[in-house]
């Protein structure tokens, strides 16, 4: 199993070893724009959380290349089973920032009706499957979707994202094993950011690399510089091509770094030396991509500023829009549990509605929600 790190741009200590993928300038700039937008969203959302305007957030800071570069290698018909740290995938696939923000606010415009914590998105229109908190579950589901694609003889792939910690989960094992046995067109992307909350990589596995785990499932495993968006794209593109022609799954390990805390609830300084972040700051995926684009004369300073301005504007408008919307109606709580409500639910809702109407529930608590 080759442990060579795939690199397009090269980095201090890592020589470039892979040619740049053949992407049109507008494709490259679109990837760049989404990376910048993701970064700016991240920054603003963390602030909104600190201001108490949204309840929770999970920063993707430093991992933009890892998830956006991989997703860029897909077509619109491919299915995505992401983790909570991959907001850029939805943006790349055309979802507006405002839709993400409605979800973060858990308001009535959020089409998932404020049922999940922030960043647990779901967008069927772009084949992005509902994100859940339990670690690893999406991995086995992605394998199943890929099996279904193969059964139906459709040339699509399923891609799934998870962290280094998630490789310890039951469903990492089940998902890769099923995909291996059924030669399903599934791409497994392990975003190895060095940490699972406070547990560092060496506390997670004694394996030399995450990519090496692929052998246990009879599939190729590749390691790629996760902060090199072109390398990430190239590795995924190759895996997708293999999968589409029936050559089965691939495990891709993107080597990256979680620059922030685990989430807005976490204070990383309690368990890790902030100095290590400085090293990784020099490998910032956006800075590196910008330098590369500039080197190739594909991005000018003014253009870059225009991209940023446009993103900031979109963000500002999105926040304004999301804050205008009130919470979902209480009645929606009983919807979508089943296709049709049970008599028990009907009865519970009738009682609750009556109590709310009569105002007998504790003051100040429920006033804010429409029935």
């Amino acid at each position: 199993m080759s442990l060579e790190l795939i690199s397009v741009m090269g980095d201090a200590g890592v020589p470039a070893n892979t040619p740049a993928p053949s992407l049109a300038p507008e494709q490259l700039l679109e990837i760049y724009r989404v990376m910048v937008l993701t970064r700016l969203l991240d920054d603003r959302a963390m602030k909104l959380q600190r201001q108490g305007r949204i309840g929770f957030y999970v920063p993707a800071l430093g991992q933009e290349a890892s998830h956006i570069g991989t997703a860029a290698a897909l077509t619109a018909d491919d299915w995505v089973f992401p983790s909570y740290r991959d907001p850029g995938i939805a943006l790349l696939r055309g979802v507006g920032v405002v839709e993400l923000l409605h979800q973060c606010y858990g308001n009535s415009t959020d089409h998932t009706l404020g049922r999940q914590m922030p960043v647990h998105y779901s967008f069927k229109k772009i084949r992005l499957v509902s994100i859940s908190s339990p670690i690893g579950t999406q991995i086995a589901q992605a394998a199943g979707a890929a099996m279904a694609m193969k059964i139906r003889k459709e040339p699509h792939v399923a891609i799934t994202y998870f962290g280094d910690g998630s490789t310890s989960s039951n469903d990492f094992h089940a998902g890769l094993n099923f995909a291996g046995v059924f030669a399903a067109p599934c791409i497994f992307v392990c975003e190895n950011n060095g940490w699972a909350i406070s547990v560092p990589l060496e506390g997670q596995t004694a394996s030399a690399t995450m990519a090496a785990k692929a052998e246990a499932y009879g599939m190729p495993g590749v390691r790629v510089d996760g902060n090199d968006v072109l390398a990430v794209y190239a590795a995924t593109h190759e895996a997708v091509e293999r999968a589409r022609v029936g050559h089965g799954p691939t495990l891709i390990e993107t080597i990256t770094f979680r620059m922030g805390g685990h989430s807005s609830s976490d204070d990383a300084s309690r368990y890790r030396d902030p100095k290590v972040c400085e090293i990784w700051a020099k490998r910032d995926p956006i800075d590196r991509f910008k330098a590369w684009l500039e080197g190739k004369k594909l991005l000018k300073v003014a253009q870059e500023q225009a991209i940023r301005d446009r993103c900031e504007q979109e963000l500002k408008e999105a926040i304004d829009a999301a804050e205008k919307v009130g919470p979902p109606a209480v009645s929606t709580m009983f919807d979508d549990v089943y296709a049709t409500r049970t008599t028990q639910q009907d009865e519970q809702w009738a009682e609750l509605k009556d109590a709310l109407k009569r105002g007998v529930v504790a003051k100040g608590h429920h006033g804010e929600f429409p029935l």
Binding site: W79, F81, D110, H111, T112, L113, R115, Q116, H120, S122, F123, K124, V129, S130, S132, P134, T137, I139, A140, Q141, A142, A143, G144, A145, A146, M147, A148, M149, I151, R152, A158, N170, D171, H173, A174, G175, N177, F178, V181, F182, D335, D336, V337, Y338, A339, T342, T343, Q344
Partner: protein
């Protein structure tokens, strides 16, 4: 109408539905070439091929996780868990994922999946081949839980389960698998989910049961009839959603209820039924609500027949409430 065992009726339902709907696929351990350890999928691998009848690796988490992925994508998977005692490695996928997918995605993503699994005693299987874990799943909004007690219902409810838009846990009582034969309609035969069945009407006491315990209640009722006690028997059929109306109507009529289930008493689903009666029918009750159940121990091997509720213990409870 052909006469079938429950195993045959299940096999028939699977065949009928796979012929009708090309989206239906089966997966599980030994369901393919072998046709399932109880033979429920016998012959289907041969008829429909390995793409639609899949022998999987030994991983319940993988079976259910993959089935969810298939369902999301547009197939209609029927997963088999070889024994319900082995469903626990898949507990997370069932409870956290299948049951919550529609809700958390605002109704966008659905999991029209059926999980078939044998439950209960009757094969001298000890505590790892005899459990009746329906209560665990009944406490999980988003999941439906169906337990047939006869071959005909098994076919009709299984067809309804496969066609149901929500995930259904379909629990098959091993006690009935091969012991009961009855006429089962050929071809199309759907029994609506959410409707209890009045097995026997009576005026003195209502026996409430599901799965293998329905037959035990029938035997007890026959004995009681000889003694002049007229039992009504309700086969709950679908634990979730529960047909409260039928149960309440019966108990309001008889004024007495005995609930029978195989699982350990504490925390069993019969407690929920009792609680519903205590909330909604207390004025009609003329005696305590009794439960005849498995005991608060794991299911034993040698002592299986003592552990299982049987007609004698049920009759005792009937006498108690009647004489109260």
């Amino acid at each position: 109408m052909p006469v079938m065992t429950m195993v045959e009726a299940i096999n028939d339902a699977l065949r009928v539905e796979m012929r009708r709907d090309p989206r239906v696929v089966l997966l599980g351990e030994d369901v393919g070439v072998k046709g399932g350890v109880f033979g429920c999928s016998a012959g289907l691998w041969k008829e429909f091929g390995g793409d639609r009848v899949m022998d999987t690796p030994l991983s319940e988490s993988g079976i259910v996780g993959a089935a969810i992925g298939m369902a999301l994508y547009g197939l209609v998977p029927v997963a088999e868990i070889q024994f319900s005692d082995f469903i626990y490695p898949a507990f997370d996928q069932i409870v956290s994922e299948a049951a919550k997918m529609r809700y958390r995605s605002g109704g966008e993503y659905t999991v029209p999946m059926t999980i078939r699994t044998p439950i209960g005693g009757g094969i001298r299987g000890g505590h790892y081949h005899s459990q009746s874990p329906e209560a665990y799943f009944a406490h999980t909004p988003g999941l439906k839980v169906v337990v047939p007690s006869t071959p005909s219902d098994a076919k009709g409810l299984l067809l309804a389960s496969i066609r149901d838009p929500d995930p259904v846990l379909f629990m098959e009582p091993k006690l009935v698998y091969r012991t009961l034969k009855e006429e089962v309609p050929e071809g199309e035969h759907v029994v609506e989910i959410g409707k209890a069945r009045v097995v026997r009407s009576g005026k003195d006491v209502t026996l409430i049961a599901w799965g293998g315990m329905v037959g035990m209640c029938e035997k007890a009722a026959a004995k009681c009839a000889e003694e002049g006690i007229d039992c009504e028997i309700i086969d709950v059929r679908t634990i979730v959603p529960l047909d409260e109306a039928t149960i309440l109507e019966s108990v309001k009529k008889t004024g007495r209820a005995v609930i029978v289930y195989e699982a350990p008493k504490t925390g069993g689903f019969g407690g929920e039924i009792s609680a519903i009666l205590a909330e909604k029918a207390i004025e009609w009750l003329e005696a305590p609500i009794l439960r005849v159940t498995g005991f608060d121990t794991p299911f034993p091997y040698t002592l299986e027949s003592v552990y299982l509720p049987e007609p004698g213990r049920i009759r005792e409870a009937v006498l108690k409430v009647v004489r109260f």
